[in-house]
């Protein structure tokens, strides 16, 4: 930091106005940007989700979900829910905007879809930082209950709802359900320590018979 031109020294800032949870969803399910309620923020913080593109022995690559609590599970001596509760309190107290940003795939999973272009991700983050997503219309994601902006400066509208980018909408719904199941089964280990509001902030899972 001592050698970086635009670094803040000493490295201190005010309480955050915006928090971004970045995920590279290689399943292509999560919206490129969505706004989280404090309970959703706690849920997605505890989940610490991304998906990696893992090679298999047959040379086929397919996405694999990774969950690391608080985005750094390996370094947490305390129960992850402890950190999430602190985060939730601070978000409410300081009225912080929390955004879930998918820097991963759109239009389908890895292999079919494409990585979301960096210039669009940057445009979405800039819009969030500038307050340009504050007074606009949002749609709720039917499975993940995430609030997706309908428009965003310098980003094509069509990109903002991931289902619109898939060739086959039913296929998207099915895969969204699969990812939702991965989230809820990962969260089981924390459910005992979490409030019902936080547990319910996760995705809806319909049990298929």
């Amino acid at each position: 930091m001592y050698n970086i031109g635009n670094a803040v020294i000493p490295s201190i800032g005010s309480s955050p106005k915006n928090i971004f949870f970045l995920t590279a969803d290689a399943f292509g399910i999560l919206p490129p940007i969505s706004k989280l309620s404090p309970e959703q923020a706690m849920y997605y913080f505890i989940s610490g989700y991304t998906a990696k593109v893992a090679g298999t022995e047959a040379g086929v690559t397919e996405p694999k979900a990774t969950f690391s609590a608080c985005f750094g599970e390996a370094f947490l001596p305390l129960n992850p829910v402890t950190y999430a509760k602190l985060l939730g309190n601070k978000i409410r107290e300081h009225q912080v905007n929390v955004w879930l940003v998918n820097t991963g795939w759109s239009g389908g999973p890895y292999g079919t879809g494409k990585r979301i272009r960096l210039k669009y991700t940057r445009a979405m983050i800039t819009a969030a930082l500038n307050g340009e997503l504050d007074n606009i219309v949002y749609n709720e994601h039917p499975v993940f209950n995430l609030m997706m902006p309908v428009t965003c400066p310098n980003v094509p509208d069509q990109l903002l709802d991931p289902k619109n980018t898939w060739a086959n909408g039913e296929n998207y719904d099915e895969k969204a359900q699969n990812l939702a199941t991965l989230f809820t089964s990962n969260f089981e280990q924390y459910a005992h320590f979490s409030s019902p509001e936080v547990i319910n902030a996760g995705p809806n899972v319909t049990i298929s018979v």
Binding site: M1, S11, I12, S14, P16, K17, A74, L76, P77, L78
Partner: protein, 297 residues
């Protein structure tokens, strides 16, 4: 090279007073010289010190333990992340490591963490190699005043050349990284990967700050805009945390570890951290730190 044995802190509190030479608070240039002299690494084309960290080019989470004691037994979330270590076994292993370092050269550095004065902790790091010490210089914060007459709050001992005997020492294999909250010591052996030092302190702060000071410790990057508004970015590797927080229109507070107190976000460290393994074909397993610029102060 001057022998600085006369200007060093008393290390008897950790049993390291019998080292052959104690190189205390060397400058980066001196540490690079020592590292080269000891064949720890080579100078890269850009002048950075490039080290092959050997067997380990990453942390070893299965060999990271926390001593079970009065402080930790009912507070730590024990499991696959936080593996218990017996307090007596720790004492025995600490003795073995200090015996191993007796009669060898060691590099000792006083540094600190947490840019917010209120949460500042002093750290003394004793390493077997010069490059680990250089890493500490670059990564942690640099104290304005060095006071060798007082002991720091936390001490880290890192001896990559020491190999544990799992049957006797209570480790899983020959390498280990053990945090002792009662003694305030992090004991690292059998690995030369410097991330164990960095994340050892991060784990300590992740315990102390939320548990004792109600400060949220976070694995995130942070920047601030022209109007002073702060933004923080969480994300696992490959999600764009570093890329997106490096914004030419905003100033960087830090790239990896921060605390959130009542009204501030503060960096724990002073350095940047980038993994460079396999960046070049001929340096397989090289763990070059982009910030280990020769002589950078």
């Amino acid at each position: 090279m001057r022998n600085r044995t006369n200007h060093v802190p008393d290390l008897s509190y950790i049993g390291l007073d019998r080292a052959r030479n104690i190189y205390f608070q060397l400058t980066p240039a001196e540490l690079v010289e020592e590292a080269l002299k000891r064949d720890e690494g080579v100078l890269a084309d850009n002048g950075a010190l490039a080290i092959d960290t050997g067997e380990f080019t990453g942390r070893s989470p299965k060999d990271r333990f926390i001593v079970e004691d009065e402080i930790t037994k009912d507070t730590v979330w024990w499991g696959k992340v936080n593996i218990k270590f017996d307090a007596d076994k720790f004492d025995a292993l600490l003795q073995k490591v200090t015996d191993y370092l007796t009669g060898r050269d060691i590099f000792v550095r006083d540094s600190c963490a947490c840019a917010n004065e209120k949460y500042h902790i002093d750290i003394r790091v004793a390493t077997e190699t010069a490059y680990q010490n250089l890493f500490v210089h670059h990564l942690f914060l640099r104290p304005e005043v060095i006071n060798i007459s007082t002991n720091p709050e936390w001490t880290i001992i890192a001896a990559p050349g020491f190999k544990a005997d799992p049957k006797v020492d209570g480790t899983r294999q020959h390498n280990f990284s053990i945090i002792n909250f009662s003694k305030k010591i992090i004991l690292i052996g059998g690995t030369g990967y410097t991330g164990e030092i960095k994340k050892g302190i991060f784990s300590v702060l992740n315990f102390i700050l939320p548990h004792e000071k109600k400060v949220l410790s976070m694995h995130c990057s942070a920047n601030t805009g022209p109007k002073g508004d702060t933004a923080i970015f969480f994300g696992l590797s490959g999600t764009g945390k570093t890329t997106l927080s490096a914004d030419p229109d905003r100033n960087l507070i830090g790239d990896d570890e921060h605390g959130w107190s009542d009204y501030t976000i503060f960096n724990f460290e002073g350095g940047c951290y980038a993994k460079c393994v396999d960046l070049t074909a001929e340096k397989r397993a090289a763990d070059i730190r982009g910030h280990t610029i020769w002589g950078a102060a």
